[in-house]
Amino acid sequence: MNQAFEKAIAAKNARRKRLAQLPIHKKIEIVVQLQKLAAPLLRAQGRRAVVWGINTKTRRHEGERVSAPVQSFRQTRKINKAVKRH
């Protein structure tokens, strides 16, 4: 197998492991973000789309730092928005 491909797969698996280890409230925040991303696609297919009314933006817990996987998820969203704009 191509070495670059192997490296990409390993990085992907490592990221998935990191995501699995996040605290549950962080995972719920990601689920809500996924719901927001999926909603227009589902609606376009005529399927039911639900976005939970949980405010994830203002939610911060005592002494908490935004974890790396969530940051990278947000960066991905920024990039996607920028691509959409152009």
Partner: protein, 166 residues
């Protein structure tokens, strides 16, 4: 979500339900990476006496309505979440609820199905998304393998598990 969990704990304390445990994708979330889901599945042991094999969730819906929560098709909307209440129909689900693990969500106690039972239930229902959930749990959840195999053996799901693993 926190409010939904608090409502579940209140309903249990008030005797409206005998026991509950979160199941489905949100339960799996406690053990695996996040995946898209639209609802919160709550498995419930009814406190009301059952007439033969007929299980009723009527007292639960009455209690939720009295708290001002509205129904939306098969769901009840609590704290912006779609919550689906499912009665414990069958021995596997009853055992899964009784042996659920005690967890915390934002310092609120919550009962969540064990990963071993989530696998057994997914194998029983066996839709494509259930098979995907089995894969995710086997790969990422920390499990007691002896316990998993005892559950699979008790509910005659070993064959399905072997078939899935092929």
């Amino acid at each position: 979500l926190k409010q939904a969990i608090q409502v579940l704990n209140d309903l249990k304390r008030e005797g409206v339900i005998a026991e509950y445990a979160i199941g489905g994708a949100i339960a799996a979330l406690f053990y695996t990476e996040p995946v898209l889901t639209q609802d919160l599945d709550v498995f419930v042991l009814s406190a009301a006496p059952t007439a033969g094999k007929l299980i009723t969730l009527k007292p639960l819906y009455v209690a939720l309505r009295s708290r001002g929560y509205r129904e939306q098709r098969e769901y009840v909307v609590i704290d912006g979440c779609l919550v689906q209440f499912l009665p414990a129909a069958g021995d596997l689900l009853e055992e899964a609820i009784r042996e659920a693990s005690d967890r915390q969500y934002e310092r609120t106690p919550v009962r969540v199905l064990r990963p071993e039972h989530l696998i057994a239930i997914a194998l029983q229902t066996c839709r494509p998304k259930d098979r995907a959930r089995v894969a995710l749990l086997v790969e990422q959840a920390q499990m007691d393998n002896d316990y998993l195999h005892s559950v699979l053996k008790r509910y005659r799901l070993e064959g399905k598990f072997k078939e899935w693993a092929k």
